[in-house]
């Protein structure tokens, strides 16, 4: 009997130890995550928009000097406001204090003249500069704009606002949307719009901010042929539907006079993973081919009737490189990297156009831009502009219009995006991206300015 009890006791003891260890291991994470938020935000001085929350404009210079607690508590309301401001705001350098004050002044003025500063563009005469905020921001999403975003982040965090930490992981548009909807990231990157149902049910305040444009092109590998081929909507749809199966097909030969297309089977290569590139490609094919629309349709992952699958832009590019007779659709940069010629694609006006950056940008000319900041994501494939490359699209940064809780983070993010929409556009062409046309860039900035935290706009910057 004693043996039984001892055995029992031993089992109980070891079980208790094991469960205690397990519990401590599990509970340590959520408990420990919260306190990390506090040291990030709690510092001394203030930044612009908090000042708008304080009713008296005279409170602005005070707010910049809240480091001294010796100030007599003349009005309890102001001190309360100051207290929250101190908690939420973060170190501003002494030199930028004046800037903050002027920004605060313009902010209050804007708030007084137009309570919804969204519709009326506020053109301030002062030169805008990003605030020196301390924040850690993370985002994930589309791989297509990744090189550009990395260049932006590098320059921005090294030379413009060194106190901010930004990271962007290229995990693909689909994953980026999922992470953003689940509130796992501060911002998302995507080449295609979030499904409207998902927006309504999960992230009703998501805004798609167009940042830059890119083209998707057919990348062709036929041994011995280096001249850029010409494609029409019909031949592209035919190849991917499996109707055109040989490079010497008369429909292809008709457009490519002077090119000796060989008797070689066509191997279409498509993306096997869910991707923004596929979404752009199938959106285009659905617009130009009724057959495609009825048989396959558009989407970020569709079942292709013909060809072989490969994962990622890099996978498609590699498969095309290794297969004689293959054609695959990739973002233009991948073809450039592999040293492939840019093809011609016949656009809606009947012109054969290469996906050069100015032709890609032209695809957005003359488009209707919605005044609703939540409806900026639009398809611009098969554009009617004469010199437009027809398979073009915007790539977006996803932000939340109302549900940011950390003012400091939201301000730092808005500053970065604004910087990307202004100064940052200078990097686009140098990296092979097409800059946004002026109307879209303006619309994107206006949409960014509708972002608020507890009702207070996070950025007040001129639309320029």
């Amino acid at each position: 009997m004693s043996i039984v009890t001892r055995k029992l006791r031993a089992t109980m003891l070891s079980l208790a130890i094991a469960s205690a260890l397990l519990l401590s291991a599990c509970s340590s994470a959520p408990a420990a995550v919260e306190p990390t938020v506090v040291p990030e935000v709690a510092v001394e001085a203030t930044a612009a928009p908090e000042a708008t929350a304080i009713p008296e404009p005279t409170a602005v210079p005070e707010a910049t000097a809240t480091t001294e607690p010796t100030k007599a508590p003349e009005a309890t309301a102001t001190t309360a406001a100051e207290a929250t401001a101190t908690v939420e705001a973060t170190a501003t350098m002494a030199a930028t204090a004046t800037l903050a004050a002027t920004q605060a002044a313009t902010a209050t003025k804007a708030a007084m003249t137009a309570p919804t500063a969204t519709t009326a563009p506020v053109v301030a005469s002062t030169e805008w500069e990003p605030r020196q905020l301390t924040a850690k921001l993370s985002g994930s999403g589309a791989s297509f704009p990744n090189p550009l975003y990395q260049v932006w982040i590098s320059v921005y965090t090294k030379n413009v606002v060194p106190s901010v930490q930004l990271s962007y992981s290229s995990v693909g548009s689909g994953q980026g949307q999922k992470d953003f909807i689940a509130y796992l990231t501060d911002f998302g990157g995507t080449d295609s719009a979030i499904k409207s149902g998902d927006v309504e049910s999960k992230a009703p305040d998501a805004i798609h901010l167009p940042m830059v444009m890119g083209g998707v092109m057919p990348m062709v590998n036929i041994a011995g042929i280096k001249t850029p081929l010409k494609f029409t909507p019909e031949t592209l749809a035919g190849i991917y539907l499996g109707a055109i199966t040989n490079w010497n097909d008369p429909r292809l030969a008709k457009d490519n006079e002077g090119v000796a297309l060989p008797d070689l089977a066509i191997t279409p290569v498509y993306r096997s993973d869910s991707s923004g590139t596929t979404s752009i490609w199938t959106d285009y094919l659905s617009k130009v081919s009724t057959d495609w629309k009825s048989k396959v349709g558009a989407g970020s992952a569709v079942s292709f009737p013909a060809g072989i699958g490969a994962s990622g832009n890099a996978g498609v590019s590699a498969t095309v490189l290794n297969t004689n007779g293959a054609v695959g659709y990739v973002e233009v940069g991948y073809a450039l990297a592999a040293g492939f010629p840019l093809p011609f694609v016949k656009n809606a006006s009947g012109n054969f156009v290469k996906p050069e950056t100015n032709n890609v940008s032209a695809a957005a000319n003359g488009m209707n831009i919605s005044s609703n900041p939540q409806k900026l994501a639009t398809s611009i494939t098969n554009s009617a502009t004469p010199d437009a490359y027809p398979i073009a699209a915007f790539t977006y940064i996803l932000v939340r219009q109302k549900t940011y809780t950390d003012l400091n983070k939201a301000q730092a993010l808005a500053d970065f995006i604004y910087w990307g929409l202004t100064t940052g556009q200078g990097a686009t062409v140098r990296l092979g991206y097409a800059p946004l046309p002026e109307a879209m860039r303006t619309a994107s900035m206006k949409a960014l300015k509708t972002v608020t935290v507890n009702g207070a706009p996070v950025i007040d910057a001129p639309i320029k």
Binding site: K7, T11, S14, I17, A18, L21, L22, A25, A29, P30, A32, V33, T36, K136, S138, S140, S143, P147, Q150, V151, I153, S154, V155, T157, K158, N159, V160, Q165, S167, S169, S170, V171, D179, A182, Y183, L184, T185, K226, T227, P228, N313, A314, S317, E331, G333, Y334, L336, A337, G339, P341, K354, E356, T357, T423, G426, A427, V429, R430, L431, G432
Partner: protein, 327 residues
């Protein structure tokens, strides 16, 4: 007749011996091929800055020299170090086009090295106490019914795909805390490490002669005392080997990290935020359009292999000394 029989037996012996040697050779070939392949391609990325620098975005700026130092930051043209010529159509030949796409790789993987060490290290902190205590239980109370169940569960766990651990932590921790974090990655890795630590600890403790336990008991030591002062020290080198195996397994995992730590391009000191890791860098760089980064993917894989190898050797050397002393 006897000679024929003898000759036949000798022949069979040689044949079987040859086949075994061949099989051994076949088993080693992939290892050598992998190391050789990673080494030859990855060496293209090797430089001093590969180990001391973090991620640098692509640029075709010339390497800074004494005569032409690096372009200083110009607020009016922040991207001066990128090509001034727009990236156009190379029309076939890439040799004469120096666009940013065929620029040499820049930057390094220091953030990945530190990240991998941090994530796998914290994972080990989670896994060690659980694994070792479970191992002690399985070995010292091996006949209990609960032990059989635990042993079975352990084997199932060690055979489960690593992505399952990633998904589990993604749902239980990442979605709950609404934050990708290095700690979440460590937990996912700990799930994979626990069965390895448990089973090796158990096996190593079983190897300790029963007579040692009996001797301790004979001197009046209670079970816990003999376990901690006699059995455990005797099995220590073996247990450490198991721990190293667990570390290597964790350090090399990609799938659970994709869902939990997200990755980063900077050195992150905050373990409750996304962090970089070598396997993640390898994975992401292979997807890059820049050939320079594709080379760096091989480089990162090489560094990861060397890191695990180095840790193994260091720990082996360390435990050989201490193991000798304690005995």
């Amino acid at each position: 007749m006897r000679t024929f029989n003898y000759r036949r037996r000798k022949l069979v012996d040689q044949l079987m011996r040859g086949l075994s040697a061949l099989a051994t050779g076949c088993a080693v070939i992939p290892l050598i091929a992998i190391i050789g392949y990673v080494l030859t391609i990855g060496s293209g990325a090797m430089s001093w800055s590969f180990f001391t620098d973090v991620y640098q975005p692509p640029s075709n700026a010339p390497e800074p020299t004494a005569d032409a130092p690096e372009v200083a930051y110009d607020p009016n043209d922040p991207f001066a170090n990128l090509t001034v010529e727009p990236v156009g159509d190379p029309t076939g030949s890439t040799e004469d086009v120096t666009n940013v796409y065929n620029a040499a790789p820049r930057g390094g993987v220091l953030h990945g090295i530190l990240g991998t060490l941090t994530i796998a290290g914290i994972g080990l902190l989670f896994a060690l106490p659980i694994g070792i205590f479970a191992g002690i239980y399985l070995s010292e109370f091996r006949n209990e019914r609960f032990a059989t169940i635990v042993r079975f569960c352990c084997d199932v766990l060690s055979g489960s795909p690593s992505i399952v651990a990633g998904v589990t932590i993604y749902v239980l921790v990442v979605l709950q805390t609404q934050q990708f974090s290095a700690v979440a990655g460590s937990m996912a890795l700990a799930i994979l490490m626990i069965p390895i630590v448990t089973r090796t600890t158990e096996e190593m403790l079983k190897l300790v002669p029963e007579t040692m336990r009996e001797a301790a008991r004979g001197l009046g030591a209670p079970t816990w005392y003999s376990t901690f002062t006699v059995v455990l020290p005797a099995a220590l080198p073996g247990i450490v080997t198991g721990v190293m195996l667990a570390f290597a397994r964790g350090a090399g995992e990609t799938a659970p990290l994709i869902l939990t730590v997200l990755g980063s391009n900077i050195i992150s000191t905050d373990i409750f935020k996304p962090m970089a890791a070598l396997p993640l860098l390898t994975y992401r760089y292979t997807e890059s359009p820049y050939p320079g980064e594709n080379t760096q993917a091989w480089g990162a894989a090489f560094v990861l292999m060397m890191l695990v190898l180095l840790m193994n050797i260091l720990v082996r050397v360390a435990t050989r000394k201490s193991g000798g002393n304690s005995r």
